[in-house]
């Protein structure tokens, strides 16, 4: 009996360690994200910081945003666009604990990105930007691993691979 319990516990912890963006990590990420995402002007600043960090890493990515004035991150059309993108990301994060709805949203986002020929390194630039701006916004109380694992889960869903 004892042996069985030990084996079970061992198995459970293996399973636990295996899933990186597990349910507890999702909840943590979600609550920290809600704090970083903020509202009003400070949300606009958060979005602008992320986009400037993206373009600093991948200047050629600006070409993808010609229609929404990607040459100037403080242009109203670009501000609106950057907030739209973050809003899509926000939906996915908020659905992390609701499997079916999360699946539907990731499929929807994948559909929206299809055909735009977005190279993987642009998504990497987004992740890096986010992982640098978030702690600047949150200070000490943030868990880098949690953000990394769950952000990657969402990005992979959007990329479709």
């Amino acid at each position: 009996m004892k042996f069985l319990i030990v084996v079970l516990v061992a198995l459970a912890s293996v399973a636990w360690a295996d899933e990186k963006c597990d349910i507890l990590t999702r909840l943590k990420f979600k609550s920290q994200w809600n704090r970083a995402y903020s509202h009003g002007h400070s949300r606009e600043d958060f979005a602008e910081a992320i986009w400037r960090a993206i373009f600093a890493q991948a200047p050629s990515a600006r070409d993808k945003f010609k229609r929404v004035h990607g040459e100037d991150t403080s242009h109203p059309a670009f501000k609106a666009h950057s907030l739209r993108v973050l809003a899509g990301f926000d939906i996915a994060i908020n659905l992390l604990d609701q499997t079916d709805a999360l699946k539907a949203e990731l499929d929807h986002l994948e559909e929206q990105h299809k055909g735009r020929n977005i190279p993987d390194n642009y998504f990497d630039a987004f992740e890096t930007a986010l992982l640098h701006v978030a702690p600047a916004q949150l200070g000490r109380c943030w868990d880098k691993e949690a953000w990394k694992e769950c952000t990657e889960l969402i990005i992979h869903g959007i990329e479709g691979h």
Partner: protein, 168 residues
């Protein structure tokens, strides 16, 4: 007090079309009252339920709407597809409210939403009028502080801008 209200109402009527009488103070009030809803980590569940109720009520009042939301599986409102869609709609409202204090960016965001709805044949201006009515009935149920004047004046502008590219 009454005199001030009358004066304010007149000022709104006189204001030009583009100035849809949603003053800086109105915007601030709306943003602050809305923000009180989203402090909990579980707020996404509230967002989904609220969005779901909003759309189902619209479909009940104007049954033609059911057809328009067929693609997102309105027949199965508790399902993942419709839940995600309810969340998307609520998030669009959230984005608009959070941009109230930046009118040029708000305008760009609403213009994009207008384009997205123009592409959907069958979507009509009256649907947005109804959504406005439903919102004004529903919001006081979830918000302890609800300043009807501010919300109405700001939402009139938001919803009519989103519906501005529709023919009917």
């Amino acid at each position: 007090m009454l005199r001030v209200l009358v004066l304010l109402a007149t000022a709104c009527l006189v204001a030009s079309d583009s100035q849809f009488c949603c003053s800086a103070e109105d915007r601030h009030i709306v943003e602050e009252q809305w923000d009180t809803l989203w402090h909990d980590t579980e707020s996404s569940k509230l967002k989904i339920s609220f969005g779901r109720l909003l759309l189902l009520k619209l479909a009940k009042e104007i049954p033609d709407v059911n057809e328009l939301f067929k693609e997102v599986d309105i027949a199965n409102p508790e399902g993942g597809k419709f839940s995600a869609h309810a969340m998307r709609i609520l998030n669009a409202l959230d984005m608009a409210i959070n941009l109230l204090e930046d009118p040029p960016a708000l305008d760009a965001a609403l213009d994009h939403l207008a384009d997205q709805h123009q592409k959907r044949p069958g979507v009509k201006k009256e649907h947005f009028k109804k959504i406005g009515e439903i919102l004004h009935t529903a919001l006081p149920h979830v918000l302890d502080d609800y300043n009807a004047m501010s919300w109405k004046s700001c939402f009139k502008g938001i919803l009519s801008k989103i519906a501005s590219k529709l023919n009917a």
